[in-house]
């Protein structure tokens, strides 16, 4: 049944790969057209206030500048659901970095010079940007991100904790984090008569088209939005961002093609970030390790532009059997940039806290951390009481332990040294929900014996084209080489966005249905196909979004080995290994890259990535890639990703669970737990940078 597979190199290769390795894959800013203009936004330099005047004279005199848009002369936008897109509509500055002008010019150089020449006067107002525990403005939201209730309570957790044989009460802090996909947010807009064409770097152009139609009062049929190749997103391109609104706005005004590429340093302020989270986790257990009480309290911030609540207490509703529990979010609206999705919102920071606390509890109990998790395996989903459609967390833990060589580990902290290096190992569990959205697809059988599948899926690096062609080929019973998959254009059948690890399930379901329908038509067709071929359509509305009686989640286990340098405070990752149970894996080659990529981002979250809201200036101190440290080659060892094949009939026709995000989940805790095992010091604030490690070792007298 549960069988372990390593990634064989035999799975089909990435279809757009040859374009990407030769530089011929074109991204959003790489579609030149005659007369194209370049526009550069001007960010506000106050943390809160009003624009009292914009002096554009010097900018307009700058050679090559065509026009400058401000709230005084920019086109009025229609009503939209996302107030972060209401750019240049009024004089309000809700946070530092909010765009207050747009300089449109003949060249990027002229746009930059023009932007530097714009003088913006603001009436500053007092600002509050720092999330502190017990902030007076904190409230419990009705819902956190993804529609999860802000608060859930079962039994009497306080009493359970008071009377527990063993208890831990610990606080963790995860700083703001930035997505920083390698391709900055970029959009190009041009008009062909009354028809608007937009190339944008987005995780889903069906949504972009709908939003532009609303904002600019255009029928959707007159808008084409394309995102054939997207240089990563990790959530920050899930819905439209200001670049696509500004590019379209400037093209409306100038009637010329306009490209907006957001400078790297602007991204943290306007494309969303992972909000900081302050965690308090209380666990109570009997001497046998069984949890009697679990309390996970999360404080986080949102902006005053809109409410976004990182649902970091939600994984504590899924993981372990605890009869008494409280999971609650408290959010503080501050004068900060608006947070949004970043890879595994909720699960990534939440599981850092929960899985670190579980490690602390294992220490308090004198119990092996793998065994502690196993004894707390629930029979049904703890919060909902629903049965799991499949749950192989225990298998992942055992398989990971076997591959990693966990057995025989000396559990005592600081038990292994190599000169000035302290060596330790750690483990953590991972989880990510199964999400799926309705989508539509069309499948064609062509007279030449090939097949064409059309769906507005987006390949942001996941391998969507490759996987969807494989799903189609399976449903049609033909080799994948005979199937072409067209994705990445809003003119194709509408489909959901590449987010929430839902792409393959959502798009694949629609592709599968269309292909099953087409196979049926083909079997009933005699003789050669007509010139236009045969076609079948699908729409999974009502099926993909139907309520399931099952709790559906992917699970995993992460094992890590670190070396901590007691002289420099540097942590080096020696080994990092993940084992996942995520339904059927559809393409071993691209799946391994998804898992490995998530593990790598988790390594960054643990050790290198951290941002700081500047109390005086109100924006992030670490804005570019020199200050915000994403992991580099030298930080990353030979990461191993394995999986257990699950046969789960309650998911979708392919039997797959999403795999794009679970890799980041659990990794920071596994590394943090390994650092504790190495040093005997518990660090509870990420990232574990050398300055923090040295200070911790010194304060603990363990230096």
């Amino acid at each position: 049944m549960a069988d372990t597979t390593t990634a064989p190199p035999s799975a089909p290769e990435r279809r757009e790969g040859p374009l990407k390795v030769t530089g011929s894959a074109r991204y959003a800013a790489e579609h030149p057209s005659p007369g194209r203009l370049f526009a550069r936004p001007v960010p506000a330099t106050v943390a809160r206030g009003r624009v009292t005047g914009v002096d554009v004279r010097a900018a307009l005199e700058t050679p090559g500048v065509v026009t400058v848009l401000t709230h005084e002369n920019a086109p009025r936008l229609g009503e939209g659901d996302d107030p972060t897109l209401a750019v240049l509509q009024d004089d309000r500055v809700p946070h530092r970095g909010w765009f207050v002008a747009l300089v449109v010019a003949e060249t990027p150089e002229a746009a930059r010079a023009g932007a530097a020449a714009v003088r913006v006067d603001c009436a500053e107002e007092p600002h509050d940007v720092i999330l502190i525990p017990g902030h007076p403005s904190a409230y419990v939201p009705e819902e956190a991100n993804a529609g999860h209730p802000g608060l859930r309570r079962h039994g009497d957790p306080d009493r359970a904790l008071t009377s527990a044989a063993v208890a831990v009460d610990v606080r963790y802090r995860v700083p703001p984090l930035h997505n920083h996909p390698m391709e900055p947010h970029a959009s190009s807009a041009h008009w062909d008569g009354e028809r608007l064409t937009v190339h944008t770097s987005s995780q889903g152009t069906t949504v972009v088209r709908a939003v532009l139609a609303g904002l600019f009062g255009l029928p959707r049929e007159r808008i084409s939005v394309l995102a054939e190749h997207v240089g990563g997103g990790f959530g920050s391109k899930g819905t439209p961002r200001p670049d696509v609104v500004l590019a379209t706005m400037a093209s409306v005004v100038t009637r010329r093609p306009v490209t907006v590429v957001l400078p790297r340093r602007f991204l943290p302020q306007v494309v969303g970030h992972r909000a900081p989270t302050l965690h308090r986790v209380r666990l109570g257990a009997g001497r046998d390790g069984r949890l009697t009480g679990l309390v996970h309290e999360v404080a986080t911030h949102t902006s005053r532009v809109k409410e976004f609540v990182e649902q970091a207490a939600v994984p504590s509703r899924v993981m372990y059997a605890a009869p008494n529990s409280l999971t609650v979010h408290r959010v503080v609206p501050l004068d900060v940039p608006t947070p949004s999705w970043m890879r595994a919102p909720g699960e990534a920071p939440g599981m850092y806290a929960l899985e670190s606390a579980m490690d602390e509890l294992a220490g308090a109990l004198g119990m092996d951390p793998v065994e502690l998790r196993i004894v707390n395996e629930p029979r049904t989903e703890p919060d909902s009481g629903r049965p799991f459609s499949s749950r192989h967390l225990v298998d992942c833990l055992r398989e990971g332990a076997r591959r990693f060589g966990w057995d025989g580990r000396d559990p005592r902290p600081r038990s292994r040294a190599e000169g000035p290096l302290l060596i330790g190992t750690g483990v953590a569990a991972a989880t990510y929900p199964v999400l799926v959205q309705p989508s539509t697809a069309v499948a064609h059988a062509l007279p030449d014996g090939t097949f064409l599948v059309e769906i507005n899926a987006t390949d942001i690096g996941t391998g969507a084209r490759t996987v969807l062609a494989g799903i189609a080929a399976d449903a049609l019973g033909v080799p994948p080489e005979r199937v072409r998959a067209e994705v990445g254009r809003s003119d194709l059948p509408p489909a959901s966005l590449a987010g929430g690890s839902s792409g393959t399930a959502s798009w694949g379901w629609a592709v599968h249905e269309a292909c099953v329908g087409l196979a049926g038509r083909l079997s009933g067709h005699a003789g050669p196909l007509p010139a236009e071929g045969l076609t079948a359509r699908s729409d999974t509305r009502g099926k993909a979004d139907a309520e399931s009686p099952y709790a559906r989640h992917a699970f995993g286990a992460v094992f890590a080995e670190v070396a901590v340098d007691t002289v420099t405070g540097e942590i080096r990752v020696r080994r990092l290994l993940g084992v996942y149970a995520a339904g059927r894996i559809l393409n071993a080659r691209t799946a391994r890259s998804q898992f490995t990529g998530g593990l790598t981002m988790g390594l960054g979250m643990a050790l290198t990535e951290g941002s700081t809201v500047d109390a005086a200036f109100g924006d992030f101190a670490e804005r570019d890639l020199a200050a915000y440290h994403v992991p580099v080659h030298a930080d990353v060892p030979d990461i191993e990703a394995h999986w257990i094949e699950e046969d789960d009939p309650h998911l979708n026709p392919m039997g797959s669970k999403g795999i794009g995000e679970i890799g980041i989940v659990g990794t920071p805790a596994a590394l943090g737990n390994a650092v504790h095992h190495a040093t005997g010091v518990r660090f509870r604030e990420l990232p574990l940078t050398p300055d923090r490690v040295l200070r911790g070792l010194t304060e603990a007298g363990a230096h």
């Binding site: 990435r14 990407k20 030979d638």
Partner: protein
């Protein structure tokens, strides 16, 4: 093919623009360039060679890496006007005139050494520059200080990782990139 290009709409005066001649992927070009124009923007905007990517425009990410006279450079940090007479190779020029991929491009494809692909041209150009540096005996931070100078450096994984650390990959394809580079080490 020799092209005469003026950046669209640029107000070309001798005070702010100059003529530059350079070879890109073996072809000579003479262009009038804005003095502020970087090599990266020249490639992308004037020559429509978008293979070199703009990830940060500040020399922090390596996505714009190309080969200048065979050595790897961040093309976002070089002003085009300073490159008169130079020879530039971009990812578009690696496979030559034929349809065949360069062996390193092939290795990236076979190893799945990328996901979104945005850092990929820079990784490939950087790796080729790096292989030449190692062959010429250039040491890195992790090279054994006792190793003889001017002898080729043996590229084990720590060496490859150290030498490619200027090229960021947010998708986290690093382990596969290292394998792809190993595939083409002579």
């Amino acid at each position: 093919m020799t092209g005469q290009h003026t950046p669209a709409g640029a107000t070309a005066s001798h005070a702010t623009a100059s003529d530059v001649t350079l070879r890109v992927n073996g072809k000579p070009y003479t262009l009038t360039v804005d003095h502020r124009r970087t090599l990266l923007d020249l490639l992308r905007e004037d020559l429509d060679l978008p293979g070199a990517k703009k990830g940060c425009d500040h020399g922090q990410c390596g996505a714009c890496t190309v080969l200048l006279g065979g050595r790897r450079v961040n093309s976002c940090l070089l002003l085009a006007v300073s490159l008169d007479g130079c020879d530039v190779t971009t990812v578009e020029g690696l496979s030559g005139d034929g349809e065949e991929l360069h062996p390193l491009q092939r290795a990236f494809q076979e190893r799945d050494a990328f996901q979104c692909g945005y850092c990929t041209p820079g990784q490939i150009c950087s790796a080729l520059g790096m292989l030449a540096e190692a062959a010429a005996g250039h040491p890195s931070h992790v090279t054994d200080p006792a190793a003889p100078a001017d002898r080729p450096v043996r590229l084990d994984r720590p060496e490859i990782r150290e030498r490619l650390s200027g090229n960021l990959c947010r998708c986290g394809a690093y382990p596969r990139i290292v394998e792809a580079v190993e595939d083409v080490i002579p």
